[in-house]
Symmetry: C2
Subunit: 430 residues, 2 copies
Amino acid sequence: MAQRLDARDASFPQAFAELLSAKREISEDVDQAVRAIIDDVVARGDQALIDYTRRFDALELDAGTLQISDAEIDAAEARCPKEALNALALAKERIEVYHRAQRPQDSMSTDALGVTLGWRWTALESVGIYVPGGRASYPSSVLMNAVPAKVAGVPRVTMVVPTPRGETNPLVLAAARLAGVDEVFRIGGAQAVAALAYGTASVKPVAKIVGPGNAYVAAAKRRVFGQVGIDMIAGPSEVLVIADGHANPDWIAADLLAQAEHDPVAQAILVTDSAGLADAVEKAVERQLETLPKAEIARASWQDYGAIILVERLDDAIPLVDRLAPEHLEIETENADELAAKVRNAGAIFLGSHTPEAIGDYVGGPNHVLPTARSARFSSGLGVLDFMKRTSILKCDADALRALGPAAIALGRSEGLEGHARSVAIRLNL
Amino acid sequence: MAQRLDARDASFPQAFAELLSAKREISEDVDQAVRAIIDDVVARGDQALIDYTRRFDALELDAGTLQISDAEIDAAEARCPKEALNALALAKERIEVYHRAQRPQDSMSTDALGVTLGWRWTALESVGIYVPGGRASYPSSVLMNAVPAKVAGVPRVTMVVPTPRGETNPLVLAAARLAGVDEVFRIGGAQAVAALAYGTASVKPVAKIVGPGNAYVAAAKRRVFGQVGIDMIAGPSEVLVIADGHANPDWIAADLLAQAEHDPVAQAILVTDSAGLADAVEKAVERQLETLPKAEIARASWQDYGAIILVERLDDAIPLVDRLAPEHLEIETENADELAAKVRNAGAIFLGSHTPEAIGDYVGGPNHVLPTARSARFSSGLGVLDFMKRTSILKCDADALRALGPAAIALGRSEGLEGHARSVAIRLNL
């Protein structure tokens, strides 16, 4: 059973602060190991990849088999159930449409002084997508990472996916093809991140690495940040559901468990103004757990990190939401739109009782790569902008330089940068 | 004298690769020290800040003097030269106008299936700006960091600036006020970063930390990334100038030196198709160095990291630019616009002979916080988007869920996430 909090209790602020600071990250100290692996890949290239793949994935590769061939992808695709392929195609189409609308505008204009200025967006030249092997190998995540990169116009998208003992997930390869991934390597872990960042004979380096991974992958991404760009370091998934007394407790319970089944350290929280709903949801969770295949994981998550918070009025949920900054926020209340408008910090909002978060995970259109662990306070879900960058452009003519030059000279001198001042003054004969 | 390369030489690819990989970062290994400082600030709060400020800045503070008061800022402003204040005001106005145009659009629409979807941008709730003390304490950087935050709508902008032996730069405080900074603390180093990330009794925690700093600050930002957002880890500054035989060698030399005077590890590179210009610039640099106040720094930068690269045709400069991905790119050629259109990777482009980069440093309008060390391959200069985040929004009605649900169920099951599938199925009585 999840913990029950009441926002009207004197002990609530303390209990809520503890909920906020609960360490759900698995903080294995893998940094030294990761550093050695990266150095080794930089030094020995493909051979290091081959050695680590033998050691960690129990798979014997050579330079010729590091990459997964087109023929292998054909064969994988042929093994996929038709229904799943069709669902993937629908998902890809909707994700593409949603992300196309995110393509940014360039800007260029000339102001009253004669200064022409603005900016230009360009796609990254190359991107690496990390896809975990084993339990967390999700074809939907391949789409969510690769489609926005391709919508942005990235010409080379490289995917890496470990294949322990040679096992591949055929739907992952089908998703890669559907999304337009250009090349796929059967490598994983810190060694794959190192290869993408620094390149080897077989793996061309990329400009940015995205995608989730285990503690080694996260530590490796953190280490290569600067050499290449990275996306967020993803933490365990989380949902916060706001519901009122009209909500269907069975539906709410199903949504909480859909989150909890991800990971024993996933977090599902219900905030409600109805003690009746709270009780009913609690019972429904227990009942649904009886038949859920991943009940063991979901139960651990619900017991250790789940919470039901009672508030006096639904509006009281808003400051709690903003402090938690949940990855996913479901609002299943009568005034869902109004409440949503008051929220500052959330990765994604799902409105009304017919929008279970699982729709957004797969076929809604928005990205399911979202900020976790309270990082929705400062970051956004993955999108087209993550695969583009902006170059500012400035052009003065002689008159414009005459107008702006003296101020630049004054500021340069005030900062002790006489060379800056002179680069302007020399053009104005000052 | 800088090194001279000729793109037509057989040895050029190797020499250019060495130029690319030249380590200009000061890679002091300060990580362990920084970790201890952060832990100490988390444990001891204000008292740790007071102790480190005594030790590193030779300044005795107490809880009442950690913050710089409004009266002190008034007094600082009164000490600033009028000319510099006016120049700052012009700069602020132009930066504000430029960044206002960057404010992103929200999007919300309903598609043919009845799915309402889109996104909403919101400002971060709070931002910390790190401003270095001593040599690199630049009022212009205060504007460049704080103005976009305020344009984004950030309600609380907190600045930290170390004041060694109590010395403050009055223009830095004046710039903070002009930009609308809400509070200023006289702390610096890893301890200031820790305070901004985790909070102390006096310093409220922020959602994101931006601004340049030394190796300790950079290491601290890297460590607190995740707890808060951070901007790029800034490296030494750099300029690449493309010029043809029509360019004025004295102007070009002044631009190269304006970059070189920043730092002995700054980098200034000229790419030209004119051997005559190359020779003339080389001579002009030596001549101008004779009277430049920061000649020692500029000479070290020019000798150790400067380069003049001769190319057969100006178009041959483009792939070199894209590999170097310079922070600043000046194009002083007859067809400057055409060349600029072919560039993929550059932080900022300055077009024509009347746009010395120093204009962009101060009063052009675009941001001068730009990606260094080749990171323009994957990132942008600072802007309004760095102070906002996007929340995706999804809303299905019963019909829309009926249309999309089966595909979500199929994908959930194919990923082994039965709980995901059930959260949809339960609403469709499937």
